[in-house]
């Protein structure tokens, strides 16, 4: 069935994104990995929307796209501020306070 292929693609994208968030040290690349996760969600939503023949999945996907833009806007601003303070975008070095 065609749906399976969409879901497998989404699952692969999701895992790639999670791997990226965990392993990447560059702040911008982490943001890109988060985008991958959100896009895998969009694929899922649209595929399920077609399968269930209901429009709300597509509406959901539109909201995810809009909110993701806002999130990344804030994220880039934070990465920029990190660069100004630390002269690096390596997020492992931003660790003055030990949790």
């Amino acid at each position: 069935m065609l749906l399976n292929q969409f879901l497998i693609l989404a699952a692969i994208l999701f895992c790639t994104g999670v791997y990226g968030v965990i392993s990447r040290r560059n702040g911008v690349l982490v943001l890109m990995s988060i985008e991958l996760i959100l896009n895998s969600v969009n694929i899922n939503l649209v595929a399920f929307s077609a399968m269930n023949d209901s429009i709300s999945g597509q509406v959901f996907a539109l909201f995810v796209i809009a909110v993701a833009a806002a999130e990344v806007g804030v994220g880039l601003a934070i990465v920029l501020a990190i660069f100004r303070n630390y002269r690096t975008v390596d997020i492992d070095e931003v660790d003055l306070m030990k949790g």
């Binding site: 999670v18 969600v41 269930n52 999945g57 959901f60 804030v74 934070i78 501020a81 949790g99």
Partner: protein
């Protein structure tokens, strides 16, 4: 292209909108616009008015809440059932508005002195409160998601407020990265739930999750992933790593806001999802929540014992408190329908109590640190000798957080305990024991602060009185009075919580 769209729109009829039910949110939105205009059109020296407008607006939004509370008839259900205004949402909206107002009170001096961008600060605060109010009415995955982001994104910026300090931006970054990552995981879970049930409405999901789809492994993945997004927000272990660093690096008023309002919003979403959406698979939720609750209480308490900085200590204390609030979910769906009611009302009640008490404690911390300029607990030595009122207020809050009668926390904790034990399951008893042990451990650090305040000497021998600005006096006053009144008349909050319960648990 456009012509066809317009032609299709001919038959469009605007759905009826119950403006009265939306009024509290609309007032907050209007306040948002007013504060924005004030920020744009005033000179730098009169920016302080932004805080007054924000405070007045938040108090003003309580008026429509009261008129809605006394309104007769069924709860209003708007936007195809995605936005419901029932007693549960009204109680929590009141909680968020009061928490927001106290946050404005504790912020006004701190942000005006030394810090920058006063207008924007209150804008973001209002936006976040707006999101919290919306999430307490949201009964639909899309609405929950949008409201959740509405309340989260402003708090990322508030956490990074001291952007020119290295610790300030570190606080924002840690909060942001873990936050958006958790959002991604949550969305993936939501997409699976939507795929299986074919609807984003919680009521529809609740109807389908007990059926065939609910038995599929993918439903379990969907449920757990969805909950993870909110568990991060309430800083449950193992999703708590951001909390101490963010709390320490952010301005203290923001920390106060994050530790109560933002945490409560996470719990509100969890309650709605679990009670309305996932109740049919409560057997999945129970063990998951049991492990998380016990881990959260224990880890939070153990690390809090070792802290020397008061804000970090409160960060771990708030992690442990989140564990206490999660405990009743380890017996959800076990026992009679009565138990479900009691679980819900005990959790709502604990949220109300915890919010007031923790805000009060932070108001005292802010007042004291204005003089000592340090977050070290040792700098609190002999506070009673030169600032007796602050020391006694702090003692009231610490007693309440530790759960010592007659302070209000005792009653709230007792309710949680009864709810867990009444379910009469092994998990329930185990959770109850873990909770009792952890309550005792938590006294260790709460009473440690008390000993420093009352018994130790003043570190540098400087006993000039603390000058507390009026706004902070008001914040401490409101929270102390609320703590004491509820401590002696616990029925008041109990009634509120029961009202709230009645609304939500009838979803079945």
């Amino acid at each position: 292209m456009l012509a066809t769209i317009f032609a299709a729109a001919e038959g469009f009829v605007r759905p009826d909108i119950d403006w009265h039910a939306l009024a509290p949110e609309l007032v907050v939105l209007a306040t948002f616009v007013v504060v924005l205009l004030v920020d744009v059109f005033t000179e730098e020296h009169s920016r302080w008015t932004a805080s007054s407008f924000a405070g007045i607006g938040l108090l003003g939004a309580i008026v429509p809440l009261l008129t809605l509370a006394v309104r007769d008839g069924d709860p209003a259900s708007l936007f195809g059932g995605g936005f419901v205004v029932d007693d549960f949402s009204l109680v929590l909206k009141a909680l968020f508005l009061v928490a927001g107002y106290v946050t404005v009170l504790v912020s006004s001096n701190q942000i005006a002195e030394g810090d920058y961008h006063e207008g924007e600060y209150y804008l973001l605060l209002l936006a976040s409160i707006f999101g919290m109010m919306t999430i307490s009415s949201a009964r639909d995955l899309i609405t929950i998601f949008v409201a959740f982001e509405m309340l989260s994104i402003p708090t990322y910026m508030l956490a990074a407020w001291r952007k020119r300090a290295q610790t300030g931006i570190e606080a924002g970054m840690k909060y942001y990265l873990i936050g958006v990552f958790a959002t991604g995981v949550m969305l993936y879970g939501m997409s699976l739930i939507y795929g299986g049930t074919g609807s984003t409405l919680l009521s529809e999901i609740g109807a389908h999750i007990g059926g065939d789809f609910g038995q599929e492994p993918v439903a379990v993945v969907g449920i757990l992933f969805t909950l993870v997004g909110f568990l991060f927000k309430v800083s449950a272990v193992p999703f708590h790593n951001w909390a101490p660093d963010t709390y320490e690096g952010a301005p203290t008023p923001v920390t106060a806001f994050l530790s109560v309002a933002s945490k409560s919003a996470g719990f509100v979403a969890i309650l709605q999802l679990v009670f309305l959406g996932f109740f049919g698979r409560a057997d999945v939720v129970r063990p998951f929540m049991f492990v998380l609750a016990v881990a959260t209480m224990t880890v939070g308490n153990m690390i809090a014992l070792r802290q020397t900085n008061i804000v970090r200590m409160f960060a771990y204390s708030s992690v442990a408190q989140a564990g206490f609030i999660l405990v009743p979910l380890s017996v959800i769906g076990a026992g009679s329908a009565d138990t479900a009611d009691q679980i819900l009302s005990s959790m709502v009640m604990y949220l109300l109590v915890y919010t007031v008490v923790n805000l009060g404690a932070f108001a005292v911390i802010i007042s004291v640190s204005r003089r000592t300029g340090s977050g070290e607990i040792a700098s609190w030595g002999g506070l009673f000798t030169y600032a007796p009122a602050l020391a006694v207020s702090m003692a009231v809050f610490l007693f309440a957080l530790g759960g010592i009668p007659p302070a209000v926390g005792w009653f709230a904790k007792f309710q949680l305990f009864t709810a867990v034990v009444k379910a009469d399951t092994t998990l329930g008893y185990a959770a109850g024991v873990a909770m009792a042990v952890n309550s005792v451990i938590s006294l260790g650090y709460y009473l440690g602060v008390m000993r420093t305040m009352f018994m130790d000497d003043v570190p540098d021998g400087d006993t000039t009185p603390v000058r507390v600005p009026p706004a902070l006096v008001a914040a401490v006053g409101i929270t102390v009075v609320a703590t004491l009144v509820v401590g002696f008349l616990p029925g008041l909050v109990g009634d509120l919580a029961d009202h709230a319960t009645f609304a939500l648990s009838l979803g079945e």
